[in-house]
Symmetry: none
Subunit: 241 residues, 2 copies
Amino acid sequence: MKKNVLSSKQTAILKFIKQFIESKPYPPSIRDIKNGCGLSSTSVVDYNLKILEEKNYLKRDTSVSRGIYLEAQKHVSSLIETSDPDTTINQIELDDLEFENRGDSRTITIPFLGYIAAGEPLSIPPSDKWNSNEFDSVEIPAFLQKGKNDLFALKVKGDSMIDALVTEGDIIIMEQTTQAQPGDMVAAWLNDNEEVTLKYFQIKNDKVILRPANPTMSPIEIPANKVSIQGKIVGLIRSLS
Amino acid sequence: MKKNVLSSKQTAILKFIKQFIESKPYPPSIRDIKNGCGLSSTSVVDYNLKILEEKNYLKRDTSVSRGIYLEAQKHVSSLIETSDPDTTINQIELDDLEFENRGDSRTITIPFLGYIAAGEPLSIPPSDKWNSNEFDSVEIPAFLQKGKNDLFALKVKGDSMIDALVTEGDIIIMEQTTQAQPGDMVAAWLNDNEEVTLKYFQIKNDKVILRPANPTMSPIEIPANKVSIQGKIVGLIRSLS
DNA sequence: CTAGAATTAGAACATTTGTACTGAAAAGAG
DNA sequence: CTCTTTTCAGTACAAATGTTCTAATTCTAG
């Protein structure tokens, strides 16, 4: 039986990683963590990193040096069940920050945070940094907002999401959230396939059903702990020509 | 004497680094850059990185793998924009520069003229009446316009255009025209089937080829006199949730 | 206490990654 | 053209970094 609580060493590692990433433009190496946390061996770091990865506190790109990063999302299963307070250490604090409505109420400006592609995990910076001018921004019609907060935009790379009626170059508008209601279209990370997919979200018993927008294609059914919700899709803008 | 302009290779490297950092949670390695920019040797990357560092386009932490980061994002993009226009940058699209319109981003208002459905012909009022109060209007991001005139919006009814990656409720932005260039996505009226369809337009001999946006579906080939072009699709807005 | 599990320590090893060196090719300058 | 400077290609090597292994140690349920 696996413990559901993190050891003090593991929380220390998580905190160190978070702090490191915030203060430097690259992630820490194993030995950075070893020294930063006063650990005795790289193998201890590796050992604990594997546990943290298993519990979805962070992800690692294998065969990429410094390929370590924090998941900005919570586990679906921990949301459906009662969420464990110990599992909130690396959660990103979400200020309820509103975007400025410059005069015209029919338009809002949201940050453009990067790209979404099949094989690559989404790495969404903490929302309290969205207003810094590191990021580009996109103007979108206000009717897409519908009272949502923490909206951001991503550009789609590749045709892997074509069964969601989404194609190369589309700009998708997402709401950052780890919770989804049945019927929402979500961006979901599939642990096994290691990919992001856009599907309609439903729950059946303790399983998650992901249904493509294209009704001619079949839904997939996955155990809740194999999926993590990255956000809700609230809209899409496509520029042809 | 050192040139004050960046070579095409150097702008490509800069652009790649920017894109890489935006899409991944760690900076690129020398070899990532080499492959991403189609360069032949790590030494070429190193050579150019040194120049870029010298000119203050980026910084490097020595003795740290992937210890590379851009000095100032704004600086970079503005210089890429003004660098040699005849230098083509391979492998990397510069089109995400279109998002760097912060400060002076705009929207435009276009008339909402009604619905588009498979079985019904489009009845578009003459454009000099669009500004009258009979019509609703929609605010759209200015970057969808791209110099087009006579834009209007229609709402999609039914799922008949799903092979164009368009579904019920989508708002499509069209330019009124009866002419189309090969490669345009058009709204075409098919005389025989008596329906409107959205397809990519091409010409082969005296026949018209209409190609679905979904690459897994087959194009159709029709004599030119059986088709009439109703307009070009310049964009699409989808509101989920 | 005791057996099994979890954790740690240390080291060796494998891979990734940065850097240096050579000579060749290309580009300019006169 | 010749000479110089810049840029490139290929390779080799060294440093940084990730991974694995074994045995010791600590922890924990019973």
